[in-house]
Symmetry: C2
């Protein structure tokens, strides 16, 4: 199984690194895409190398998508290739996990209307304005989409995401 | 089940936060102890509140011990109450996980002689000088002790630690 993290400079370190290592723990191969290949430096100074630029990604080669938060999503949402990746995951109903400011990317991709989701409180009004059915809970699942609010929700987020993966895989 | 993380200011953020959230994901209650109660700030700026000062901890109330790395262990190892906590976990053969510079605490507690373990490369000579049987691998298990070298080993470290917990619990 292969997972893709889409992120950018100034993402929230722990929201990238927790799923990055957690999915590896499950034996899942994890790749990172960003605006360009090479080093991405997160808010607190941790960094990873992006394996792909967004426009080099073939989403059909991946099973799972992760959209971390922080100040990364405001950059990711401006990249058309990134939005195409996200739309393709939704079209094929593959599991997608977003946290904190991650749903900003979903808004720009036009994917939150009538979907139950949560996000960082500060963007709650944007989620609602885009037609999202906002819930203030540690984790919200709606079909293929699993969302959380902030770092302290990480255990809920990944636990629910792994359940969703197993369930979607079993019914695929 | 209850876990205790012993750490200090300038610990390696991800080596505290990964087990902190990962064990919660398993439904384990996680508490933090340090030189004094209150905020501990890690190397990259993440922080947690210490629930206990070291001398307030009753190790018999906990099932698991975690010793993260970074520059925390050089402070932890100077605290006699912290060393007593670690010795008590070893006496009662409860699972202990240490990573990176974490084994510095094991050295000062006199617990590495003839034990197989790994650590950050930079303290390898100290581990050997203390009689430890050093192995350069992502994770090394010797009985109740599970050790790793650095952040990229985190998936191996926690996977092996969770296996050790299940096994030790089954035979207890």
């Amino acid at each position: 199984m292969k997972a893709l993290i889409i992120t950018e400079n100034e993402a929230e370190d722990i929201e990238v690194l927790y799923p990055y290592y957690r999915l590896q723990e499950e034996g899942i191969e994890v790749k990172v895409a960003s605006g360009k290949r090479g080093q991405i430096t997160f808010k607190h100074g941790y960094w990873l190398n992006a394996d792909y630029a967004f426009d080099e990604v073939n989403p059909d080669e991946f099973d799972l998508l992760i959209i971390p938060g922080g100040r990364g999503p405001e950059r990711v949402r401006l990249n058309k290739a990134a939005l195409e990746i996200v739309r393709r995951f939704f079209e094929s109903k593959k599991p997608v996990a977003a946290i904190c400011h991650g749903p900003q990317v979903l808004i720009s991709a036009g994917l939150v209307k009538n979907r139950k989701l949560t996000s960082w409180h500060g963007i709650m009004d944007d989620v609602k304005a885009a037609g999202g059915l906002y819930e203030d809970k540690p984790v919200v699942r709606d079909g293929n989409l699993v969302t959380s609010r902030m770092p302290s929700d990480l255990p809920y987020w990944m636990n629910e995401f792994l359940s969703a993966i197993k369930e979607i895989k079993a019914t695929a």
